[in-house]
């Protein structure tokens, strides 16, 4: 049997737990508003963004944008606040998804318009913006 422990009650109040997070009041209000926004789109945050046949996650989109901007793995890692090996993992997954053999092919594919538009805005983002508008 896995370990289980008896926890004392009453449990701490939500107010006291919120206080301990030390989030500025203004940001708390913003977050509360976000939590109560009507859900117009059924799209979940972890669901993938569609690029034609491709399914790229938000993280992969961001990574691709940085690769297009010629950042090295180390620079990307610094920018995203992750380990360099994590960048490598994401990059290899991205290349697998796009069928790219290497970084250059990935960038060429992206810039050719298959993935991104000429101003660097991703097609899916633009479609989404149009839908919102």
């Amino acid at each position: 049997m896995p370990l289980s422990v008896q926890i004392p009650t009453p449990r701490p109040s939500r107010e006291s737990l919120i206080k301990r997070l030390r989030i500025p009041k203004a940001r708390q209000a913003e977050l509360r508003a976000i939590m109560r926004e009507p859900e117009t789109s059924p799209q979940a945050p972890f669901s993938n963004v569609t690029f034609g046949e491709l399914q790229l996650t938000p993280r992969e989109k961001e990574l691709l944008r940085l690769v297009i901007n010629a950042l090295s793995n180390r620079e990307i890692a610094r920018q995203l606040g992750v380990e360099e090996r994590t960048v490598k993992t994401h990059l290899s997954r991205l290349m697998r998804k796009t069928g790219s053999e290497n970084r250059i092919e990935l960038v060429m594919l992206a810039l050719s318009g298959s993935l991104a538009t000429e101003d660097g805005t991703f097609r899916a983002e633009r479609i989404a913006q149009k839908q919102i508008a």
């Binding site: 896995p2 370990l3 422990v5 004392p8 737990l17 919120i18 945050p45």
Partner: protein, 206 residues
């Protein structure tokens, strides 16, 4: 040297920080807040000292710790390397808890039965909590691990989880980042989890 104070509701989360773990990470946050706990991550601790010192200090200040070893595996990119951070932090925790058993209780979580026996036979005799890599598994195991009267039922926890999950994209966008694991976003997810608990709680509950 005096021992650091321990918050009785603090839980150190020893988990992988990677995209494939996003949902389970969120499930831990939501589930722990539903049960009245405060999760802590190593990523929250400001820099300065060596990372291992900061991790140890965090373990020492937490009453509980959950060590999710489900992603202790080989990296995708060559050279294929095992991920040792989580077992290392578990080792530190076990030592600390052996020294001060009344101050710390640790749990090991896995995705499937018998995986732990294979990867870390030194822990034989420790039954891990098995979450089967699912959000429901995490929530239900949290409820099994931390027992108290009037704990919210799993469907209620799932409802709160669903609400937070649907808002993650908006929270990240408004924070101007893509990383769920940065210290700031972690705090904001904690806030969202608490707010979701409020929004989804049944009308009759206190």
């Amino acid at each position: 040297m005096p021992l650091p104070p321990v918050d009785p509701n603090s839980v150190f989360l020893n988990i992988p920080y990677d995209e494939e773990f996003d949902k389970l990470y969120l499930a831990y946050i939501v589930g722990l807040y539903q049960l009245g706990f405060e999760p802590y991550l190593a990523s929250e601790i400001p820099g300065g000292e060596r990372r291992v010192d900061r991790v140890l200090a965090l373990i020492q200040s937490c009453r509980y710790s959950i060590h999710d070893l489900s992603r202790v595996e080989l990296s995708v990119t060559p050279p294929t390397t095992p991920r040792f951070n989580m077992p290392l932090e578990l080792g530190l925790t076990i030592t600390w808890a052996k020294l001060y058993p009344k101050r710390h209780t640790w749990f090991v979580w896995e995705s499937s039965p018998y995986r732990l026996q294979k990867s870390m036979s030194d822990l034989n005799g420790t039954d891990p909590n098995i979450h089967y890599g699912s959000v429901e598994g995490i929530l239900s195991e949290l409820r099994n691990a931390f027992v108290f009267r009037d704990a919210p039922p799993v469907p209620q926890m799932l409802e709160a989880y669903g609400l937070v999950e649907r808002k993650v994209g908006r929270i990240l966008a408004s924070a101007g980042t893509a990383s769920l694991y940065s210290a700031t976003v972690f705090k904001e997810l904690c806030f969202a989890a608490l707010d979701a608990a409020d929004i989804t709680k049944p009308k009759s509950s206190p």
